[in-house]
């Protein structure tokens, strides 16, 4: 080809030996990769917070080419790409970790428009003069267990306060095994066992990943996505874009069911076990000395849906009211700090779903959150 090969320098037996050695080395590399979990080490090789600024929210996206972002499942890599991983806690900083679903993450908002980003940018202070720095640890699925998983990682960054947004849907027991939870079975199982969560630790979905899945071949997609996320970091740095927002994002109007069932549960059938308040308890326990503020997030309310028997197309009135009663009762019993903002925003502030509000509403919520933190620190100072 290039004329540099000496004629007769190769023979088939040599080539066969080389191929066998290559296959052997590949197998060995796979075994090493599977035996020693390399993800924590690989997360340290992140371009984020070194070559490029950290992301303002956890990586998530279904349209990588336009969002410069993608959904990955490796917690180490996810957290390493977040701005919090690159910011040493400053003296005089009051660090707030904001947990929640897509409403907190900011599904149809630019990274600077989300509730945590606006709370962070406004320069709010606590009663004792510390600068409030809010970090977005929301993630677009509704599951308290997913939040708990993220909180377990977020605690490494020494937060002074946890703000945990939830809604009925995220407490619903069936929703707990969200994709992120399933993709991190080891960490999830550890949380179940440590905090005695009402989830089956022997569920096949929490079993340790098989040896085959832990090899390079088994994790090729995760590896490729990790590398792609690093490349997208350069685009994140150069454009400030981490989400493609379609120009039209109308709410999907669904016809509510006539029998008022919620995930198959009919009026009068709701059991305590169907609501994952045990996960909230676990979160509070995990936070230890760090105060946790639980917020029942604002929802879209339309009295005309289902002849007034629904708050919106997701929630029949009976179950949502029951959920709020039980949340209040549990909070009082457990001594949790609870803010119930369920009807706090007018319906016109909502965008494409019953929990996604616009940037202006996020700003209003951010300033309210800052006031709440101020009051909270004021009363903490008094104590």
């Amino acid at each position: 080809m290039d004329g540099r090969e000496a004629e007769g320098s190769w023979n088939w037996s040599t080539i066969t030996r080389i191929l066998i050695k290559a296959v052997g080395m590949f197998v060995v590399f796979n075994l090493i990769f599977a035996c020693f979990d390399p993800w924590p080490l690989m997360a340290k090789l992140s371009v984020y917070n070194s070559i490029v600024p950290g992301r303002r929210r956890l990586p998530f996206g279904s349209d990588p080419q336009r969002s410069y972002n993608l959904t990955i499942t490796q917690l180490d890599v996810m957290v390493a790409s977040h701005e919090i991983a690159g910011e040493e806690k400053q003296p005089g900083e009051f660090r707030v970790l904001v947990l929640g679903d897509s409403a907190v993450w900011g599904f149809l908002l630019q990274p600077g428009e989300t509730l945590p980003a606006q709370a962070d940018a406004a320069g709010y202070h606590t009663a004792d003069g510390r600068h409030i720095r809010a970090y977005n640890f929301g993630y677009p699925t509704m599951s308290l267990t997913k939040d708990l998983l993220l909180l377990s990682r977020g605690m490494e960054f020494e937060p002074d306060m946890i703000v945990w947004f939830l809604t009925l849907e995220s407490t619903w027991r069936e929703n707990q095994i969200a994709p992120l939870v399933q993709f991190n079975p080891g960490a999830t199982r550890a949380l179940i066992l440590e905090y005695h969560l009402d989830l089956n630790p022997d569920d096949t979905r929490f079993q340790p990943t098989s040896f085959w899945r832990r090899t390079i071949v088994g994790q090729r997609r995760e590896l490729a996505n990790d590398i792609r996320l690093q490349f997208y970091g350069l685009l994140w740095a150069s454009t400030g874009v981490d989400r493609y927002i379609p120009t039209t994002a109308a709410r999907e109007i669904r016809e509510p069911s006539a029998d008022l069932n919620y995930h198959g549960t009919l009026p009068g059938e709701l059991q305590d076990s169907q609501l994952s308040f045990d996960v909230l308890s676990a979160g509070v326990a995990l936070a230890g000395e760090v105060p946790v503020l639980i917020i029942n997030e604002p929802i879209y309310i339309d009295e005309s849906i289902g002849d007034g028997r629904y708050y919106n197309e997701d929630y029949p009135r009976w179950i949502y009211d029951s959920f709020r009663e039980r949340l209040w009762a549990t909070s009082e019993r457990e001594g949790w700090s609870l803010l119930d903002l369920w009807d706090w925003l007018p319906s016109e502030d909502f965008k494409d779903s019953t929990v996604h509000y616009d940037a202006e509403a996020a700003g209003v919520l951010a300033s309210f959150l800052a006031e709440t933190i101020y009051t909270f620190t004021e009363s903490a100072g008094d104590r």
């Binding site: 080809m1 088939w12 590398i227 490349f231 150069s238 454009t239």
Partner: protein
């Protein structure tokens, strides 16, 4: 080509290369090419055109062969070749009976429709074959037809019109016509191969070749999608010379395939994430980032294209064909002339041979004597604009051609100026510093030219240029 397709073609090449019987090898190569032209054809919204486009490609080559072949009765080998082609097409038509489409992305048309079309095609070919005695007009007419088709495929407006016409023929809504309907695999490259064959025939320099040989040359599967553009007389030498795949040749080809895979699927595909495009250009916050995206584009386009070339050369080499090199470290050249001698070499050679040289020759022989600089300028601009238009008949490709043509012209004047007024010693030219400066200037000039290539909207491209230069 997808990874799976590369793998299959590499295996087929290994099989072909290891066969010791030349005759068997040639026939397997022939059938593989027929298979490849159908298998590589992407799906199109035009009903059945993922069948008709490859079939039309084969028909064009057969027609070309009937035009250029020696005057003699059909040899038995050519009859067998024709029979194989017809049988293969009919075999594909029978895939309609399978539960899933096979070879082509969708189900082929009904067999009776294919048979009818084959009969019409044979009739047309027979007319041309009879008219061969009038070569004086038939070869230019065939070249004109091939070029006209290329113009239609490269012009957005004509593509749309062509799509509407085809949609009407197929009973589809013309209102849904789109440029992406017309995805005729490899036509740009086949055009050059056929024009070259026809021109050689007109000049009486074309060696006698069988239908099987011309079809193997025209459709050679490693080079079908992205070149290189070989010369028929060179290709035939390899095809006819028996070369079994030795361990040495296996390693040489394998090395090229490995390099090509790495360039294309690791480097180029990763850089594609960063490469400049219109959307990103509007989003970046600073000129420095814009330069980075532009460099990413420049490297991506090179690695992608040269990676494909490496794959083609490696796979072709295993099959016993040594395709010509297409890239030779273009970004490490100290001037734009050297760059264009090392970038897409086979294309630039083709244009130099068929456009630049004849044009400048004819300008020199005009009754009205023109200054040399005007001849050079006209030749460079016209050739580079044509190369641009070969990518697509749009303003941004024309501007890209003008940019490079102007670069070549100014470089030519610069060299003359030095020769005349300020001769540079060879020591100076070989000096690492002066070489580095030359490489830097050349690379950046070429990279800036890629702006026209990457951004179809001319206004947006001008805006990017403005940002890059910091005006």
């Amino acid at each position: 080509m997808t990874l799976a397709q590369i793998f299959v073609f590499a295996l087929l090449s290994l099989l072909v290369g290891r066969l010791t019987a030349t005759c068997t090898r040639s026939w397997i190569l022939f059938v593989t090419n027929l298979f490849a032209v159908f298998w590589l054809q992407p799906q199109t919204s035009l009903r059945h055109f993922d069948f008709w486009f490859p079939a039309a490609t084969i028909a064009l080559i057969v027609l070309t062969w009937f035009i250029v072949r020696e005057r003699s009765p059909l040899a038995s080998e050519d009859k067998i070749s024709l029979a194989v082609i017809v049988s293969f097409i009919l075999l594909i038509s029978f895939t309609r009976l399978l539960p899933q489409p096979l070879i082509i992305p969708t189900y082929p048309p009904q067999t009776q429709r294919i048979v009818l079309t084959l009969l019409v095609a044979m009739g047309v070919i027979a007319v041309f074959a009879l008219a061969r005695r009038e070569r004086k007009w038939i070869i230019p007419a065939m070249i004109a037809f091939i070029v006209l088709l290329l113009v239609v495929l490269k012009s957005e407006t004509l593509q749309l019109d062509f799509s509407r016409v085809l949609r009407r023929v197929m009973g589809q809504s013309p209102a849904l016509a789109s440029q992406v309907d017309i995805t005729w695999l490899g036509y740009s490259y086949i055009t050059f191969r056929l024009i070259h064959t026809l021109r050689l025939s007109a000049m009486g320099k074309l060696p006698a070749l069988t239908l099987r040989e011309l079809l193997t040359f025209g459709l050679f599967y490693p080079a079908l999608t992205a070149g290189p553009i070989d010369r028929v007389e060179r290709f035939l030498k390899d095809l006819r010379r028996f070369q079994v795949l030795t361990a040495d040749r296996f390693m040489q080809g394998g090395k090229r395939i490995a390099i090509g895979m790495f360039k294309k699927f690791v480097l180029a595909d990763s850089l594609a994430i960063l490469a400049l495009n219109e959307v990103k250009a509007g989003q970046v916050s600073s000129p420095a980032w814009l330069w980075l995206l532009l460099y990413a584009f420049a490297l991506q386009i090179y690695l992608d294209f040269s990676g494909y070339t490496d794959l083609a050369l490696g796979i072709g080499f295993w099959a016993g064909i040594k395709l010509p090199e297409n890239f030779d470290r273009p970004y490490l050249q100290t001037d734009i002339g050297a760059f264009w001698n090392r970038w897409h070499i086979t294309l630039t050679h083709w244009f130099r041979f068929y456009v630049f040289n004849p044009l400048t020759r004819s300008l020199r022989t005009l009754r009205m004597e023109l200054p040399v600089w005007t001849i050079i300028l006209t030749g460079q601009l016209f050739t580079m604009v044509l190369i641009g238009m070969w990518h697509g008949i749009t303003w941004h490709f024309i501007l890209w051609g003008l940019w490079n043509g102007a670069g070549l012209f100014f470089h030519n004047r610069w060299v003359l100026f030095h020769q005349k007024y300020w001769p540079l010693s060879s020591t100076w030219r070989e000096n690492p510093f002066s070489r580095a400066v030359g490489i830097f200037i050349t690379f950046n000039y070429i990279a800036l030219g890629w702006v026209w290539f990457a951004i179809p909207n001319v206004d947006a491209a001008f805006e990017v240029m403005r940002k890059l230069i910091g005006i």
